[in-house]
Symmetry: none
Subunit: 204 residues, 4 copies
Amino acid sequence: MSLREKKIAKKREDILRSAVKIISEKGYHKTTLEDIAAHLYMTKGSIYYYFKDKQDLIYQTQAMLIQESIENIKNVIEEQGNVTEKLRRAMIKHIEFVIRERMGFSIGIKPEQVFEKQYLEKILHLRGQYESYFDRIITMGVEEKVFHPVDVKIVRNLLLGAMNWVVQWYSPEGKKDVKELAETISDYLLRILLKGGENSTEEM
Amino acid sequence: MSLREKKIAKKREDILRSAVKIISEKGYHKTTLEDIAAHLYMTKGSIYYYFKDKQDLIYQTQAMLIQESIENIKNVIEEQGNVTEKLRRAMIKHIEFVIRERMGFSIGIKPEQVFEKQYLEKILHLRGQYESYFDRIITMGVEEKVFHPVDVKIVRNLLLGAMNWVVQWYSPEGKKDVKELAETISDYLLRILLKGGENSTEEM
Amino acid sequence: MSLREKKIAKKREDILRSAVKIISEKGYHKTTLEDIAAHLYMTKGSIYYYFKDKQDLIYQTQAMLIQESIENIKNVIEEQGNVTEKLRRAMIKHIEFVIRERMGFSIGIKPEQVFEKQYLEKILHLRGQYESYFDRIITMGVEEKVFHPVDVKIVRNLLLGAMNWVVQWYSPEGKKDVKELAETISDYLLRILLKGGENSTEEM
Amino acid sequence: MSLREKKIAKKREDILRSAVKIISEKGYHKTTLEDIAAHLYMTKGSIYYYFKDKQDLIYQTQAMLIQESIENIKNVIEEQGNVTEKLRRAMIKHIEFVIRERMGFSIGIKPEQVFEKQYLEKILHLRGQYESYFDRIITMGVEEKVFHPVDVKIVRNLLLGAMNWVVQWYSPEGKKDVKELAETISDYLLRILLKGGENSTEEM
DNA sequence: CATGAATGAGATTTCATTCAT
DNA sequence: TATGAATGAAATCTCATTCAT
């Protein structure tokens, strides 16, 4: 990659980050290209040098976020640890990510309602990939008899739903910090899968 | 309520139902008043006879849905049954409702990003009411030592998140029918709270 | 005129008065038929029983106001008094009228910009009539050599302009009451016409 | 001011002039942004590049007109001449201005009925400034005992009313040209203030 | 007579998109 | 590359007008 290409790639990412930030604040449907550009002291015209159109830009933000999530979970899987630890870490990462980017998957909207076929397929494919890593961990746990035998897809969706919903209620003013909160949530959710009561941190 | 008032109330509800339907299909920000009106063979102008403006209309749909949910959970609480049964039934009702109306709370968007102060407060108040009924059941279970001692608000949010997220992944083509699915989900989620393994419907 | 006709005539006048009031408050272009009707606890639909359309209604208000003004000035002319007294009384009446109805001629708009040909001609004709009474008094004064020889039309327009403009600046909170104010204004304006300084109420 | 800023300022003024012209022809409430834009071969959308909204645009036209008037009267005051000459010249300028722009102050409407608080205050302030220059001249004349002692505010309002009303009756077809007419009017109105009969151009 | 309800034309406004410079 | 400027389609909203009851 030449220097020029690097610069372009850098700028593209800047725009994507800006978009993520603004969308997380104002919501997808109230975010205009003007907003995104202004945040970078650009004009909206320039955005078209880097992205085909608004849909493309939004798609890229989603793709970027999911890809980062995929990297996260890949790392978690490769790390040492038993399956419970892995799932726990994956969830913590996910929750921290959701809170940090103030955005769950799909910016709080159903991708079907926003993207056209071309982008939709790609998004759904990426999403599917990420989900499959979760499925893999869950399946492992079930096979190792550490987890209850469950309908993997349903449970995975429950976990993701509970975690993505955090966007709706998390407040930085809460008494728990992000890490602590993520751990608490993960532990609660693990109970859906864990056999026995060993992990049930009995609070007073 | 006079006949006339009934008629107007009926029409208002028709419009709200139409709005719920269209929004659930196309998403909030792609739904125009034209769409909503056309679905009832009205013109968009007529909508303004019944609602102050679009924001008012959207607010009313949300209020209606939450109020119905509140009725549901109130009934559940008043019915016979132990606390586990009550929470289970409340969750099943919620899931069925979400699937039927194809809409979780807040049409998949953060109300803060859509409503202005006046409406926002009312929505948040209604939502808070509904949530408090859940909290009440959970607290009861904890006090009766049937549920683990937990952070009630967090757990309630996890349950609601997992259930509302169903909108994103439920497909009528699935092998489980709605009732069965709702039961399955509820049973999984109950494990977050239940002590012992008694409820863990060991599949297979 | 039958009782029925009387009732209708009465209602028509009610509506006209209501229209005058609302227009004087909100301005012509912000006044809707709804406003006018609501002020009488009617619905706008009913207005169409009494008036062909909005233009007709507005036209009638104007016609009514000018006709009343014409009656006023006719009476003034027929009363006893020298020409100066007559002009003074005519002006006082006009000013009082403008303040009372909070409306000069033509609701502050050029009739050409509001009325279509049919109504326009009638309005201009009525207006012309009223103006001709003023002209008559002025001409009399000139012929009697009580007034300066002037371009009658120009002076009449200056007088009317100065008087109609009162709408723009009159405030009920002022220290002068309406009668006093009207007299003061009339005396000032008379100086345009009066020979010698006899009327110049030398203030301190 | 950079070239770019000049260009944009120029365009803004073009739009304002266009607005003044159209409003003077069709009246404020019949003038659409479409009209104003079309007159400049633009589209209405473009207007929003230069002005926040219609109210802003209208406000700017008013501000522009009053500011020009203020410049005019300032110059008149600074010029040589006795107080009578100054008031005469100020009036002539005002009348010529009103005829040229075919618009008195406040486009023939009460600003209270058109502008919201923010704009209203600014307009009233500007208007007040302009009026204060008139007041200053009148007060000077009174103090120099050249003018009758009068209620300055009332007389100023009468003068302005008489002059602004010209919009309603001036016709280019009249036998007097604009300058001549403005002089005639000014001389008539001066009689309200002048002591003695020296200025009363005795017409035949 | 009166009105509730609906309509539709038109106005304002927003904003993604384009394009010349 | 970047941007200023313009565009046009679409959305919201208003309101005079109509009409069945």
